[in-house]
């Protein structure tokens, strides 16, 4: 375990020899070399394409840059301005509300559906395809479909909830419900992908464990709780971290359906960054906001890693 994720303990071990274990012909050394070798593509790829942009974003955040002209140095002014900017703070709040409003139901529904699809039943493949379809449609088109569906008079959504007796709903018009509308369409579209991932995770659990448990007389819910869920933990960590990142980055529905409105009720942080960068031509300001964005997600990820005890198999 490296120092980053384990709790720091005083090491009273004698000073290590200079050899970091990469050299020599021991199994350990060979393994280390091989591991490093297989990681080389990552160094090359991310180094070539993403080190510079990330660094550039960080760098530009200390400047004022209008995209069309030369940057001018500002020091930390962008950051101080950000924290005094009500729109920015609103964007953070709105993003959290949206992101968690979307991911938490997704975790539950995706897992539930995956457990169902993990069983064999008639028509399983056909059903799996239909449940997967929302993921396949482009987000722009999906958003526009929902724009039509949310129409307070003619929309499919409005018509259906009228059957349930809910009338007078103007989802996108009301600051209180506009974000709810975004959340609904995002859950709808986002769940299938995670469902697939959970299914893959369930499929990867060796059947022996279940057989052994069954022999020991464990009931279905016990098998679920004590075998399935713990063994799904690495996959669950993936779903948690990635779904939150994705949820924070989304802004197409907000942009297309309400343009951040009504007021600023749906103006999420990623939209704030886009507008400041490419419409207001304040790329430095947008970069500073991106750095904060990165820090937020990094902190969330580290927190989740610790929560699910990021480590080798249990």
């Amino acid at each position: 375990m490296t120092a980053i994720f384990a709790s720091r303990q005083a090491t009273n071990q004698p000073k290590q020899p200079r050899n970091n274990g990469l050299f020599g012909n021991t199994l350990e050394a060979r393994k280390k070399r091989f591991g490093l070798l297989f990681a080389v593509p990552a160094f090359l790829f991310f180094g070539a394409f993403y080190v510079y942009p990330l660094f550039q974003t960080f760098y530009v955040s200390f400047f004022s840059w209008g995209l069309l002209d030369e940057p001018s140095f500002l020091g930390i002014t962008n950051y101080t301005r950000l924290f005094a900017d009500k729109e920015f703070l609103n964007a953070i709040w709105v993003s959290f509300f949206y992101a968690f409003g979307v991911v938490i139901p997704i975790w539950g529904v995706a897992l539930g559906l995956a457990l169902i699809f993990n069983q064999a039943f008639a028509g399983r493949q056909a059903y799996l395809t239909t449940y997967y379809i929302p993921a396949v449609i482009s987000l722009t088109v999906w958003s526009l479909i929902w724009l039509l569906m949310y129409n307070p008079t003619f929309g499919l959504f409005t018509v259906v909830i009228r059957w349930f007796g809910i009338t007078g709903v103007r989802i996108l018009d009301d600051p209180a419900t506009a974000m709810l509308g975004m959340i609904i369409l995002s859950i709808w579209k986002g769940t299938p992908v995670y469902m697939l991932i959970f299914i893959a995770g369930l499929r990867a659990i060796p059947g022996d464990y279940y057989e052994a448990a069954q022999i020991d007389g464990a009931r279905a819910w016990q098998r679920l709780l004590f075998i399935t869920l713990p063994l799904l933990r690495p996959v669950f960590l993936y779903v948690m971290v990635i779904s939150i990142i994705e949820a924070f980055k989304v802004f197409t529905p907000m942009y297309l359906l309400t343009n951040g409105g009504p007021g600023s009720a749906t103006r999420v942080l990623s939209m704030f960054i886009f507008q400041n960068g490419f419409q207001y031509l304040k790329m430095g300001y947008a970069s500073a906001a991106s750095v904060i964005f990165l820090l937020i997600l990094l902190l969330l990820a580290v927190f989740q890693f610790r929560l699910l005890r990021f480590q080798q198999s249990d």
């Binding site: 070539a48 059903y127 379809i133 396949v136 526009l144 499929r203 659990i205 059947g207």
Partner: protein, 277 residues
Amino acid sequence: MSRRTLRLVGTISGQLGLLAGAIFIMAPALYMLSASFMTSSEIFSTQVKFLPASLNWENYVEVFARFNFLRYLSNSVLVTGAVVILNLVFSPMVGYSLAKFNYPGKNVLLLFILATVMVPFTAILIPLFLIIRNFGWVNTYQGLIMPFAMSAFGVFLMRQFMLGVPDDYIDAGRIDGASEGRIYFQIVLPLIQPALITLAIVVFVANWDEFLWMLVVTTGDALRTLPVGLAKFREQYTTRYELMMAGSVIAAAPVVLLFLAVQRRFLQGMAGLSGLK
């Protein structure tokens, strides 16, 4: 009630539930399909309309004839296909390395890889464009493909699945004298086949829908992909909903076909083990 009847009731209600669920889930997509056959006045009619009066194939004809969709489709297949293949080659390698080996910088690398997707694409768009320009790849297929050749999501996914591969199998391979490479190809990869398929599908769908990069790196229509084509229906003063729906059906079809093709293997489970049903 006998156990058999109970089971029958369970099955029937289960099937009904699934069917209801499927219709519910598919409702927006079915509406899209329906709208793709409507005229715009039907979509916007003042009478609530969810089914077209007749199958209006003109939308599809117009999409292909006036909007270059065949070109976009073939470009999408080329670009996304290449991206998926590259991901399938490299992401498991890195994931395996991160999951099962210890070397300096391992966790920093993982965090860094994740950090690359923890910024909105808007923020890194211009620097990335500068890099591609410096490579001389503007308006080339490489320029469209290479920035997606690996993905943080792919690497992370592979790592998590590799973590679940029991060390015993790998060690057994070592004891038998197999090289690390052989262990990777013949033991580890087959064990995570569902995950590989998932990776392929997820990367495919994500890249198929990639719009902004495909727009910015290309000059002119020759290399543009489906999402750019779809965006054309949002015109200056109005949006051609009926064409957009048709275009979207065309765009979605290949992905659904791909999904159908790999489903079987996907649901097969861990090869070589007494898997679940």
